[in-house]
Symmetry: C2
Subunit: 405 residues, 2 copies
């Protein structure tokens, strides 16, 4: 082996390594909620002395508490530890195309207070609405609680530029300086993440993709997109445009006009609103008269016209998933958005199409499941985004690790 | 910030960091071939003193040499440095379905000696053939040259288990203990990599995907598969099955029987052999009478029957690429295998189909190009695999860094 002397070696500051222990332990307890000291040592791979040291530190500052005893059949009682849910709060924002969702969450990302505001799809709205919404979910806090808010997490659609300006067709926004607006209005750090990324992170931290290195999250709402977890990392793509499959064409010759101006896009066939539109067209009715759940209910009752709209949508989604599964070899595909309530009707159609189009070997291990995180998925994801970023930010991490008054 | 004392901090061994400098400099010169001292400092980000130190070390051991002066219009002459191509040799193997390729390459991966042996597709063959082939490309070396062989790099199809046993339908092999066979027959370390991975790494190190973080390599030979470089890493998938798109179905109702037993697979429509088959069927001729290049030549001369076979293949490939581009947002798609010689006929058809099926935004930056590495791509990739692994192996790295006799 070559032996060069190394004149510029600078040892890492000791406290950075200690932060790393705190990060590992906090992120583990965030996900697993209750663990014994032994489980923490086993799972983090840290040595027992380091874990004891860090736990004593976190217990002393009220970030952890002793949650009770676990008696895992060993005859020996073991103390379990949990995160103090009140160790800090996060503000979570979910900017969707047709509504704004706001939440105040506790340290663990559980929603404590919620506010929702409907928008006119694609009609520009004043960014002040976002400030008002945050005001609404935080106004009942007393000053000491306000002081415990650690950060704002935002899940956004569209594109954020390097200066934090958001452009999103579905919001009617072009280069709205959202980051600056939030930073000027509130004293908290702001962390922002694209909606598809938020969903896959939420599933990976809190939902069906825990312990998965490779997972796909397909969401069908106003738009259709896919979040990709590949080899344990969220896959971004060259420009951050990965997962944009909503405007691919899977149905040859389809004439369905898409909101993007093209014809036959996946979105124009398989989004909730377009399932309603197809039903109404075939039934000779006015689409405005039906909600998605109405058409779904008819399909459940065996209405052939409703079923045929679901079949067309499910087959198009199945075609998209066939290719995505073959290409990316995931362990799990999680379906979200309108697909959550339509699981019973859609999932068999989607599976049938996938089996028709895919090599059996590609399907040997993959599971397809509906998201268990419900409509709050992006709020929970935005809170976990803020939590994750807090862990990486030594100053913020220090704020929760100071003695609780 | 929390301040924990850190009782178990162990500084990294000094020599590991020095190895890291050597790695960075060697891998940079492997790719870029000729660089000035200044360019090495700029590109590696190492400090000038460390670079000087490492260069002196490598020059003293004959791993680098002074390749001449560069006068980049500055009026000041600057010495350029290059790797000594004879600093070591690698053995490269490419196990394809219908032939075995062997090469002895120099340190830079340039082929010095080559051997090729045709196989009967899918008919099992004796693993001894692999040993004989390596013997053929190394038999003319004298003992001092033999002593400079550093490692064997292998590009394989199919699946390698954790004990180095290879199963590959196209080779007719089931659990052949290839790794053990090679290690017992030769004194060199053996590094093995799946063929799709080899191709994307070769393109990333030596070809069209240099400096790309996100690239796709589509290869169409006997089989069709895709290598994926995503956010600078080769994407594996949960079981190492990523990129297996050859058996997806993109042509509704297609009856083309695939070698896998299913109908309408991409491979059954768009592989070279199946383009020949489709041509022969439509022309009412015997497929055995034509090679791929014969049908290609007819298409070039405007033969409608040949053109229609290429159109059907190109459209199926375009459909696959439309989805892959939308999903993964690559900077470049590189086409390899039979597509290399058919660029003029296939690429316009593929592009037309991609444009038809894809959102324009997804195509704004992506380039599609034919591989410049030719049919040697996997040999070059296998040699670069051995080189890359050598860099990570301190003992091997030490072998090239000992004084040249």
């Amino acid at each position: 082996m070559p032996t060069l002397d190394q004149p510029t070696s600078v040892p890492k500051p000791v406290t950075r390594i200690a932060d790393q222990w705190l990060r590992q332990i906090l992120s583990l307890l965030y996900r697993r909620r209750n663990l014994t000291r032994f489980e923490i040592v086993e799972t983090t791979g840290l040595n027992a002395a380091s874990v004891s040291h860090a736990l004593r530190y976190l217990l002393g500052r009220g970030v952890l508490y002793k949650a009770g005893d676990s008696n895992a059949g060993t005859g020996r009682r073991r103390e379990t530890l949990a995160l103090n849910a009140e160790a800090g709060y996060f503000v979570a924002l979910d900017l969707e195309g047709d509504r704004l969702r706001f939440a105040l969450t506790n340290f663990l990302g559980d929603v404590r207070c919620r506010w929702e505001e409907c928008l006119e799809f694609r009609k520009p709205f004043a960014p002040e609405k976002v400030i008002e919404g945050i005001g609404k979910v935080t106004r009942d806090l007393d000053p000491s609680q306000l002081g415990r808010i650690l950060a704002i997490g935002v899940s956004y659609p569209g594109l954020l530029d390097s200066e934090g300006r958001l452009s999103a067709v579905n919001l009617g926004w072009a280069q709205v300086p959202l980051l600056t607006i939030l930073k000027e209005a509130f004293p908290w750090p702001v962390f922002m993440e694209r909606d598809k990324e938020t969903c896959i992170h939420a599933e990976s931290w809190l939902g069906g993709a825990q312990n998965c290195g490779n997972a796909l999250f397909l969401i069908a709402e106003a738009g259709i997109g896919m979040g990709i977890l590949a080899d344990r990392k969220h896959l971004m793509g060259a420009r951050g445009f990965s997962g944009e499959i909503g405007h691919c064409k899977f149905v040859p010759g389809a004439e369905d006009l898409c909101s993007c101006g093209q014809k036959g896009c996946l979105e124009a066939i398989a989004s909730g609103a377009n399932i309603v539109r197809q039903y109404a067209e075939r039934a000779g009715a006015d689409a405005g008269k039906f909600r998605f759940v109405d058409v779904l209910e008819r399909a459940r009752r065996g209405d052939e016209v409703a079923l045929s709209a679901f079949r067309r949508a499910g087959r198009a989604l199945g075609s998209a998933l066939s290719m995505a599964i073959s290409l990316l070899d995931p362990e799990i595909v999680i379906l979200g958005g309108d697909l959550i309530v339509a699981e019973d009707v859609m999932l068999p159609i989607i599976w049938e199409q996938i089996r028709l189009q895919t090599r059996p070997r590609s399907l040997e291990v993959v599971k397809i499941a509906v998201s268990g995180l419900g409509l709050d998925i992006r709020l929970k994801g935005a809170a976990s985004l803020a939590f994750r970023n807090m862990l990486e930010d030594s100053e913020l991490l220090g704020r929760i690790c100071t003695p609780v008054p």
